[in-house]
């Protein structure tokens, strides 16, 4: 039976950030706050902890609404986390690779392993704020922008 993924309609959405650099996690936390985005950010610093957390969250049907995954993690790296998550009950949770590398081979590999998106970490704070807004707009369905359909020709 499919588990129901907790959605944002009934509570504050949870974003799980799997990131080994505490400064980068702090940048994301501040960016979400600066953009006035009402989300809860859970930061886990290694792949093992993240996998353990998600197994439990899955059992309790309390999965996050979005997973942000760095690739260079100690011990269990981001690739292994990605493979295992996409074969688990968490497969339906949108997973965005957020890493410092823009290696084309990594981007291809991430797509092949069913990552939902691949984003290189921005260099500046404003870039982080814009990214936080864009992630929530797209993956949490908060898009403020509406596209007016073209009239039929």
């Amino acid at each position: 039976m499919n588990k129901t993924i907790s959605t944002l309609s009934d509570k504050t959405p949870l974003i799980l950030l799997i990131e080994d650099d505490p400064d980068h996690a702090e940048l994301m936390r501040r960016s979400l706050s600066k953009a006035d985005l009402e989300v809860e950010l859970l930061h886990l610093s290694d792949g093992n902890k993240a996998l353990d957390y998600l197994v439990n969250a899955s059992k309790l049907s309390q999965l996050p609404s979005l997973i942000l995954l760095d690739l260079t993690l100690p011990k269990v790296d981001g690739w292994q986390v990605l493979v295992r998550l996409k074969k688990s009950a968490c497969a339906a949770v949108p997973l965005v690779i957020l890493t410092s590398s823009a290696n084309p081979d990594d981007i291809t590999k991430a797509t092949q392993l069913h990552a939902n998106s691949y984003i290189a970490k921005p260099a500046r704070l404003q870039g982080y704020i814009d990214l936080a807004q864009a992630l929530c707009d797209y993956w949490l369905g908060w898009n403020k922008f509406t596209i007016t359909p073209r009239p039929p020709l």
Binding site: D23, H24, L27, R30, S45, P74, S100, S101, A123
Partner: protein
């Protein structure tokens, strides 16, 4: 492709030209075996791929502290504008730490990249002299941490490059001290295993879980990012051993209960059993 007498295939390059000699038309064909050229092309392509991968690794790891520096500089400016000095100091600490990390990365990366271009001049040297040189380099840390280091008295003589080989021991001892067990005084043994024909550095530190042992020699891979360092130390060690056409691995189990790194070097000049 052409076929040898033993029916194996080999690549060829053929040039065909029409000429006239004494008013008679001729076709001249030159067929050249290009096996060696193909081999070099393949090797060059492999090296190119390795360089590309290396460049991406470098750019990734250098970009990481830059993200911190740029991001927190802007936050610092905001905190200073609002006179929030407490947070400004915390921002400065983050910036400082990231800049130091970058400094270590660049320094060690330079050392690492030099290894590949340094001419590999070998000379017969007693490994005990190399170890002595390494111990001098780490004397400060050893004194500071009261680490007990035991050195086998009759290590074999090697035909190698003494300075990089001393760096192998230096980095391995440095790691043993860095990843010490919090509850035990540091013990390190530098020895020779006559059965396996290899040198080893064993310690009573925190050890490396079996599943992660194949990761430790990769460039920039750090099992514990909270620890100081760049993830270049063991990659450098491996590269030095590779340039000596040797092998290095994590040995299990460690006799002292921590991490045991063994390495094999060819062309030993004497091999005294211990």
């Amino acid at each position: 492709m052409n076929i040898r007498k033993d029916k194996s295939e080999f690549p060829v390059e053929a040039h065909v030209k029409a000429i006239t000699l004494h008013n008679a038309p001729y076709i001249v064909t030159v067929v050249r075996d290009v096996t060696e050229r193909h081999h070099y092309i393949k090797e060059l392509k492999q090296q190119k791929a390795e360089i590309e991968q290396f460049t991406y690794s470098i750019s990734h790891d250098l970009k990481s502290p830059l993200v911190t520096i740029e991001g927190f500089s802007e936050i610092l400016a905001e905190n200073l504008a609002t006179n929030d000095l407490e947070n400004a100091q915390s921002d400065l600490r983050r910036i400082n730490k990231a800049a130091s990390k970058m400094h270590v990365l660049l320094t060690e990366l330079l050392e690492y990249s030099r290894l590949g271009i340094t001419p590999h001049s070998t000379t017969p040297t007693a490994m005990n002299d190399i170890v002595e040189d390494a111990l001098e380099r780490v004397a400060g840390q050893v004194l500071e941490t009261s680490a007990q280091i035991t050195v086998a008295p009759d290590l074999p003589t090697v035909n190698g490059n003494p300075d990089p080989l001393a760096q192998v021991y230096q980095n391995l001892i440095d790691n043993s001290i860095k990843f010490r067990h919090p509850d035990r005084p540091i013990e390190i043994e530098l020895g020779w295993d006559p059965e396996k024909n290899c040198f080893f550095v064993d310690d009573n530190g925190r050890g490396i879980e079996l599943q992660f042992q194949n990761k430790v020699f990769a460039l920039f891979d750090q099992l514990d990012p909270e620890q100081p360092g760049s993830g270049i130390g063991l990659a450098t060690v491996k590269r030095i051993i590779d340039t000596h056409e040797g092998k290095i691995w994590v040995e299990s189990p460690s006799a002292l209960g921590g991490t045991k790194i063994s390495f094999f070097l060819p062309n030993l000049l004497n091999q005294t059993p211990q």
